[in-house]
């Protein structure tokens, strides 16, 4: 097991290098560059050229063949990609081109916002989705089953932006119970420790801050939870149905065990594998940032930030952000693999 973990961690490195390479190349294949994005309609040729020069965008992308002709070996490697990799080796993600703020600094603020939102929605999705799936499976083909499966289908196919707007309309505009967006009300302050506001406010005993942060996060979390909730419910149901038809379940029932005991002790654990996989994949997707939810609720997470950076050709942000997303995906998948071994004693990693 330990060897397996070690090997997995080692294999992450080439994957990440591959990610940097692909992102780096594809970004620069899109026409339009930061200089043009920065200057808009008013750009003049002189200023575009000067900005390109200043930002090093006039250097070759990967390797400088012209320098090789002149036997200039350091010059050969002095390319945009190599400069980027050199900085990356010191864990320096570079500065935003438009804002000049170090990417790492912004990530420290924005990634926790995304983590907080996606974890809460994942908790909502799991807490509701799994029981709904179990109930549907155990009461197969009853009214409860039909209602919850139609409900989860609606959840899966609900356009998030529409749901978000409806939530705001109802709870913020008409009922005025909740704020329409942002992470905190103006004037409310929370001492930042982890930058997860719910947790920070609890640690510092700032109950007013906790209530305010909670009132802000609840609507986006619910909006974001609908799709994974539906998927988890459906997956739990079908996986449970498969397991419930197994011989050992019939044996357990024949032994005279209670229905609840069979359901939770014998069936659920064995039905959990595909559900865990789905939860892992969904969690990865949510952590990569939910552009629509973040946009509608003005949530300062990484989704909208990276989206804007792509439109603005802010290369360092796109590079840093995607690298982080890759790490998150790899990490979540890794956790899921470990969970497999814990859930299913037959799985052993060597």
């Amino acid at each position: 097991m330990i060897r397996y973990i070690f090997r997995r961690i080692l294999s992450v490195l080439p994957t990440l290098i591959g990610v940097t390479f692909v992102i780096f190349m594809f970004q620069r294949l899109i026409p339009g560059d930061p200089a043009i994005a920065m200057l808009g309609e008013h750009a003049t040729d002189e200023s575009i050229e000067r900005i390109r020069e200043q930002l090093g965008l006039n250097r070759p992308l990967f390797l400088d063949r012209e320098a090789l002709v002149d036997d200039d070996i350091p010059g050969f490697f002095d390319s945009q990609y190599m400069r980027y990799m050199e900085r990356l080796s010191h864990l320096d993600l570079g500065d935003s081109i438009h804002r000049r703020i170090p990417v790492m600094e912004t990530l420290k603020l924005r990634f926790p916002a995304t983590v907080e939102l996606s974890l809460l929605s994942m908790i909502i999705a799991v807490i509701i989705g799994i029981p709904v799936g179990i109930v549907s499976a155990s009461r197969r083909n009853t009214a409860i089953d039909s209602i919850s499966m139609v409900g989860s289908l609606i959840g899966v196919s609900m356009p998030i932006f529409w749901l978000g707007i409806m939530e705001i309309m109802l709870f913020a505009v008409i009922l005025q119970w909740l704020p329409a967006g942002a992470r905190l009300s103006t004037g409310v302050e929370i001492e930042s420790i982890t930058n997860l506001y719910l947790i920070d406010s609890l640690i510092t005993g700032n109950m007013e801050g906790f209530a305010d942060a909670l009132s802000h996060i609840i609507m986006p979390a619910v909006a974001l939870a609908t799709i994974p909730m539906g998927i988890i419910a459906r997956m739990t149901r079908s996986s449970m149905l498969d397991v419930l038809q197994e011989d050992y379940i019939r044996t357990a029932k024949a032994k005279g065990l209670g229905g609840r005991l069979v359901l939770f002790r014998h069936a659920l654990k064995n039905a959990a594998l595909p559900v865990v996989t789905i939860i892992g994949l969904q969690a990865g997707t949510l952590l990569a940032g939910a552009v629509l939810t973040e946009t509608i609720f003005s949530w300062p997470g990484i989704g909208r930030w990276i989206y804007d950076a792509i439109l603005g050709r802010d290369y360092p942000i796109v590079q840093g952000g995607t690298l982080l997303i890759a790490i998150v995906f790899i990490g979540v998948n890794f956790l899921v693999d470990i969970l497999y071994a814990l859930l299913d004693p037959r799985i052993r990693y060597k």
């Binding site: 080439p14 591959g18 190349m25 899109i30 026409p31 339009g32 560059d33 043009i36 994005a37 920065m38 200057l39 808009g40 309609e41 008013h42 750009a43 003049t44 040729d45 002189e46 200023s47 575009i48 000067r50 900005i51 390109r52 200043q54 006039n58 070759p60 992308l61 990967f62 063949r65 012209e66 990609y81 500065d95 438009h98 804002r99 000049r100 703020i101 912004t106 603020l109 924005r110 932006f161 978000g164 705001i168 309309m169 913020a172 505009v173 005025q176 704020p179 967006g181 942002a182 103006t186 004037g187 946009t295 509608i296 609720f297 003005s298 300062p300 909208r304 439109l311 603005g312 050709r313």
Partner: protein
Amino acid sequence: MTKKLFYILIALLLFSSLVLGACATTPEPTEEVVVEEPVEEVVGEKIPLTLYYMPVTRFYYPSPKEIAEGMAADMANAGFDVQLELAGDWPTYLGLRREGNLDGLYMLGWGGDNGDPDNFLNYFFGFAGADKVGDDPSTWVKSPEAREGWYANTEVAYLLYQAAINPDQAAREAMYQEVEALLHEDVARIWVAHNNTPLVFSSTVSGYVPQPVGADYFEGVVVEGSDTFVFGRGGDSVQLDPAVVTDGESFRVTGQVLEPLYQYEPGSTKPIPALAESCTANAESTEWVCVLRQGVKFHDGTDFNADAVIFNFDRQRYTTHAQHYESQVYEYYEYMWGGFDDDSIITAVEKVDDFTVKFVLAEPLAPFLANLAMDIFAISSPTAMEAAGEDYGLPSNGAVGTGPFKFVEWVEGDHVTVEANVDYWDGAPTVDQIVFRVIADDSARFLALQAGDIHGFEQAVVEDLVTAEAADDLYVMTRPALNTGYLAFSYKIVEFQDVRIREALAHAINREGLIENFYGAYGEAAVNFLPPLIWGHNYDIVDWTYDPELSRELLAEAGFPDGISEVTIDPAYGTE
């Protein structure tokens, strides 16, 4: 995964990066392109008649795709079978336009920077640096620019040159009117619309002054039942050092914290004194002496005086200045004053005494005061700039000026807060605090206003404006239009080189109909490039009538009795 597979993967990755690296060319166009091009070149290549529409909403085109569809329908009516095309996202679109590769008709627009006609016209129609060959401007020839759809008009360029150096206001006005007449006669572009940008406020708010140019005035804002004014906006500020940014959302904030020597009169484009009490020119208009306001202090306690003014201008001008950083782009200095170091039109900013400075110019520059009043040339505290170094204007430091509001905090992507400067030389503002909140989604911004989270915002969609106008607790205010949305021709297209075809298109588009459908009460059909708000607007020009019949006649006259669906690329162009 076995170990072997793993090593093979790494080897493959390294190999492919080497191969790709060797194949990747530098982003600069190399001679290779020139060698290949003539081989592939087809003489007089035929392409479908295309209208490129903008991928983003801009104030001059509130819903570009729908407007493009409307124009295409009008054109079809007059015999132009035009295809709509989305060229890519905004930077892609601008990039293609810059390279002169939007082959057909394309939508774009302009928003004024300082209310001077030169700022509108010169970028498009003036002489480029390379055109200025020899000492006699009357012999200069305007070369077609890729960026401008390969259009060139030397007569217009020469007039613009003369107007820019003429200190006589009346003479300048006449020249700009002549330029407008020439452009109209030539149908250089089809001017489509000027849009008065709507702002929506809660009825508890009063005293907001939207500016056609420069930052809006917030100091007179009163919010019933609140000491804080929360303003919603679509995007965050880029940086709060106005010298190094070009976006309106940055200026909206810096305009409250910092002040230039001159500013624009509330609600107009007229430059009036701000930190300077007066600026007067010598007879040749090559020297401007500015008398500064006394007793003014920056928010950090530093005295405002001649040294501060000189520091701010020198810092932008000299690339060797300690506060002029490699990482920063002083876009507007170059654009408004002709260049850096020795290329700058301002050749010296001299201290006459503690409260008098003299600007020495290399040549007369008629829009001097209008330039001076731009947010970019607002004066920051030299002490604060030196202390913050390269980080001046970033969220960690904000900006330090003399304005009615002081910088408090900036949470990137979320909000900027400024508070009232009670010692402001022109009297403390009425509201204690302003919070500029980012709400990127148009609908969400309107809902936030309805929910009471914000007190006002800019950029509402047409449907929400209807709701806002009907609501008792909301009202709509407009920013006077200092913008023009237009339709440009690529002169690379042989057919568009014929003025009759350009005119036929101008008569084909029902601009009043477009305004009614997509701009509502806020837009007006454009007759000139210069909006009526700017002096130099030529009221004598008779607009192209909407007349599809006339369009068809003009088309037939030009040799296309059956209309046009295909156009020809002129082989003389496109070999950049």
